[in-house]
């Protein structure tokens, strides 16, 4: 964009959003390789509405961010005039443990929510990466997959109601504080997973669950992926329903440095079980029978590998396949990526998704850019190979985080969703001027 044009936009923005806290974006606040000139941080629904209305009347493109944990997980917007942070949309928490629901501002984090809920013995049992940073609005907007989705489903399954402002400035109130509700069209479904491209979520009512009496994370070192396939089958056909069933595979040298043994290149099966004390004893005994081995390590704490996988790699991809094909595809992925250096694969055995970490981020001195082994062009070639291989498994590979140069070369999304024509029309209805994340989603949505 030309400098004078940009200045004019900034001036219009400043005039229209007077009173809303604003600042310049930090250099590390990049969005799929782009930097926004301005970050606005509205503190309530009214301030957010004035931001949306200004953007609408001035034709400014904005991208909503929560905790900034998924800024690279979509295509760069066609234009970017401002980032709109929802982190300030907190507000009082209305927890109703006897109804097993909570209403909370979209800018709160899951950690904040669970801290509040703990007092009444409740929780929201999902475990996304960077739970202390990611906002609930962002997690719902992205419908982030979690390890504990095996036991509890996705974020979209947790939402009972929400408030949102759409791209035409309409204040929407959908659903409510009850667990069953079929009145009218379910706009919650439309907005959950729409990545802030139709409306900005300001408040959420979520299901909560009682905290378990006890919980345990168990790690098992398996011989190879064939053993992992067998372990998955025996768990699937057993009476057990662990809340987490993940397989972690490291290639190249051990990066975390805290591996409980020296065998880090062999797959690590991670299981989390919950329940009363007698239930936990029973499950542990059955796991020993089913997996024919004792756990390598046990911990009361939930698994901690998500954050490292989220932050430790320059290039992060996600493969999505049917659960039954996920391990075979992960094997194929390993074959394709291992020549290029270290990698890590985390497969959620129930959802069939595999997070792929490539190009380890070595600690670098301040002011120095991280260097990658592969050039963006080589990364693009690798992505194309992975997508070619995905065809055999009816799988897809999407980009979650990448160096700036890669966004110019590839589509973060793999293919086009069915019903794209309807989606484009919905986008026009909910965001007629195209101010919300224009072009971030598949097919230029």
């Amino acid at each position: 964009m030309q400098a004078p044009q940009r200045a004019a936009r900034s001036a219009a923005l400043a005039a229209g959003t007077e009173g809303v806290p604003s600042r310049e974006a930090r250099p590390d606040e990049t969005l799929s390789g782009l930097t926004a000139p301005t970050v606005l941080s509205p503190r309530d629904q009214q301030e957010l509405l004035s931001c949306v209305n200004t953007a609408r009347s001035e034709g400014l493109a904005l991208v909503v961010t929560g905790g900034g944990t998924a800024m690279g997980a979509a295509n760069p917007p066609r234009t970017l005039d401002l980032l709109l942070s929802t982190r300030g949309l907190g507000g009082p928490v209305d927890a109703r443990p006897n109804d097993m629901v909570v209403t909370i501002g979209a800018g709160a984090t899951l950690t904040e929510l669970n801290r509040t809920l703990a007092a009444s013995g409740q929780r929201l049992p999902l475990d996304p990466p960077l739970a202390g940073q990611a906002t609930l609005g962002g997690l719902v907007a992205a419908d982030t997959t979690c390890s504990s989705s095996a036991g509890f489903g996705c974020f979209r399954d947790m939402v009972l109601g929400l408030n949102a402002i759409d791209g035409s400035g309409r204040e929407l109130t959908v659903g409510g504080q009850v667990v069953k509700n079929v009145a009218g069209y379910d706009l919650v479904r439309l907005l959950a997973g729409s990545n802030g491209s139709l409306a900005i979520i300001t408040q959420l009512t979520l299901r909560t669950f009682p905290r378990p009496v006890a919980a345990l994370t168990l790690q098992y070192r398996l011989a190879d992926t064939a053993a992992a396939v067998a372990a998955r089958a025996s768990l699937l056909n057993s009476e057990l329903s662990p809340v987490v069933m993940d397989l972690l595979q490291d290639g190249g040298k051990d990066r975390t440095g805290d591996s409980p043994d020296d065998d880090h290149e062999r797959p690590l099966l991670l299981i989390r079980i919950e329940g009363g004390n007698s239930e936990l004893d029973y499950q542990q005994a059955r796991l020993r029978e089913l997996l024919s081995c004792a756990p390598l390590a046990k911990s009361d704490n939930p698994p901690d590998y998500h954050d490292a996988l989220q932050q430790g790699w320059l290039l992060r991809l996600r493969a999505i396949s049917m659960p039954g094909q996920a391990l075979a595809f992960a094997d194929r992925i390993a074959t394709l990526v291992k020549a290029g250096g270290s990698y890590q694969l985390l497969t959620h055995l129930c959802s069939g998704e595999t997070v792929i970490g490539l190009e380890p981020l070595e600690p670098v001195a301040a002011g120095q850019a991280a260097t990658a082994g592969r050039s963006p062009r080589e990364m693009a070639t690798l992505l194309a190979e992975l997508r070619q291989a995905a065809f055999d498994y009816k799988a897809r590979v999407v980009v979650e985080q990448a160096p700036a140069g890669l966004y110019e070369l590839v589509d973060c999304w793999h293919g086009r969703p069915a019903g794209l024509g309807l989606m484009r029309q919905l986008k026009k209805r909910f965001d007629p001027v195209g101010i919300l994340s224009p072009g971030r989603l598949a097919g230029g949505l």
């Binding site: 979509a74 009218g184 329940g275």
Partner: protein, 478 residues
């Protein structure tokens, strides 16, 4: 909106494509299609199409779209809000011949079935593999998967397992212009969750022709506890106490004295004659956990004044108990010539209050009201007893029903938990949603259904509809 006349050429083309068994005309054949479980309003379609394949549905819809003729999809007709009432709609498209099981994928815990497959048959298909399909509406022996998805059906076990949308992985949809879409709910598509949006849209966004459903592992053990209370109030408090104890039962159902009287007369389970209310509490999971949980449930119930608590461990006893519950609607005929089932929701903790309000409303309108509830979900089904030959009583039932639903809204609830808006509750939509949200809903319907040929006049208030907001109906679901 007025429909152009059905022209003979069009009917001939449809008949040629669908065959004699795929196209019904004539009074006798069409009578069964004039209403669903909401029987106060009736309208006979001019033509019923029963296509056997998605392609036939698509082609039929395409021809109707070209001719500008409205149509309404129908599953088994077990809905209870008039969602498939062919009011001002000449053509009905039934899915009863679309009964193929397209794919059973045990490794991925899913099945793809056509829209006309009956709910219970999905579970029958996989039960020998230790799996089941979790949503279990009371009409599950008759209702179809297509209808379940269209209504986002619930059932007694939604407390722990969720409703239809929580078990839907994808669907095949014929749009109102005949285009066929395969919609998946898989993560990372970079688009919107259209399949989720279509769920619960009551046949107004297109015709669902197949659905891919998630299968759930059968629990290792099930314990069913029956607790008898002197009155509904104490039973409602016990529900809150069970939830507060940190338990998530698979089902938590309540019947009041009138319902107990009716089901006892019909099925003879052996409920105490003086019971004011009973709770059916079902716990499931690992056997190692259940005894402890039963102790907690027993404690919560006895602290709230339960006079009798017993475990129904014998499978036959449990079966009879569930039969009594699920067929309670059918037993109501023993108490009054007609009854109207309402379907409202309140936050769980507001159950004691809504129960009192329903009692007051009954007294105010001089009506007997029986109460059946998915208590754990806060989903109430008050049954308003009346005689349909007495117009004054009918009028009072209408007013009382509306007052009950408005009371649910006042307590922070909803006017429907599982029966849908249909044609019955369109008038309550403005009380449920603000103008901006209603406008957004109208927008999304226009995107899918721009000419409003697919099931018009449902869900959103329309100019055409002049019937009363809430009408009694003699049958119920849930």
């Amino acid at each position: 909106m007025s429909n152009p006349p059905l022209d003979a050429g069009l009917v001939t083309r449809l008949r040629r494509m669908l065959g004699e068994e795929g196209l019904l005309t004539g009074e006798a054949a069409l009578r069964v299609y004039e209403c669903d479980g909401y029987t106060l309003e009736k309208a006979r379609p001019a033509l019923v199409l029963l296509p056997a394949t998605t392609q036939e549905v698509s082609r039929s819809v395409e021809l109707l779209h070209e001719a500008g003729i409205a149509f309404v999809p129908r599953g088994a007709g077990t809905g209870v809000s008039g969602g498939c009432l062919p009011a001002d709609i000449p053509v009905m498209i039934g899915t009863s011949r679309m009964r193929r099981i397209r794919h059973v994928d045990l490794d991925n815990r899913r099945v793809e079935v056509e829209a006309g497959v009956v709910n219970l048959d999905v579970t029958r298909l996989v039960q020998s593999d230790g799996l089941h399909y979790a949503p279990d509406p009371s009409s599950q022996a008759a209702c179809t998967i297509g209808g379940n998805v269209a209504e986002n059906s619930g059932g007694p076990h939604t407390l722990k397992y969720g409703v239809t949308v929580n078990h839907l992985l994808g669907l095949e949809l014929v749009l109102p212009d005949g285009e066929v879409l395969q919609l998946s709910r898989e993560a990372g598509s970079g688009g919107f969750d259209l399949a989720g949006l279509v769920t619960g849209s009551e046949g107004t966004l297109g015709i669902i022709t197949s659905a891919t459903l998630a299968l759930v592992k059968n629990p290792q053990a099930v314990a069913t506890v029956l607790a008898v209370f002197p009155a509904v109030l104490e039973a409602s408090r016990a529900v809150s106490a069970i939830i507060a104890a940190g338990l998530v039962p698979a089902a938590l159902e309540m019947m009041d004295a009138l319902v107990i009287e009716a089901v006892e007369a019909a099925y003879g389970f052996g409920f105490p004659a003086d019971a004011g209310a009973v709770l059916i509490i079902e716990l499931d999971g690992l056997a190692a956990a259940l005894d402890e949980q039963c102790v907690q449930v027993t404690k919560a119930c006895s602290e709230q004044g339960a006079s009798e608590i017993r475990r129904a461990d014998d499978p036959r006893e449990r079966e009879l108990l569930w039969k009594s519950r699920k067929r309670a609607f059918g037993a109501m005929g023993r108490l009054a010539p007609s009854y109207c089932t309402q379907d409202g929701v309140v936050p769980r903790s507001a159950l004691p209050e809504i129960v009192e309000r329903v009692g007051e409303i009954g007294r105010r309108y001089k009506l007997r009201i029986a109460n059946l509830m998915h208590a754990g979900d806060g989903n109430i089904h008050p049954l308003l007893l009346y005689d349909e030959n007495d117009p004054a009583q009918v009028a009072r039932v209408l007013d009382a029903g509306r007052d009950i639903l408005l009371a649910c809204l006042e307590l922070g609830g909803s006017v429907t938990g599982e029966h849908g808006i249909g044609i019955e509750k369109t008038g309550l939509m403005p009380a449920s949603f603000g103008p901006a949200t209603l406008a957004a809903m109208a927008d999304l319907r226009e995107v899918f259904n721009p000419r409003s040929l697919c099931n018009p006049h449902k869900i959103l208030p329309s100019d055409r509809h002049c019937v009363e907001v809430t009408r009694p109906r003699p049958r119920g679901g849930g």
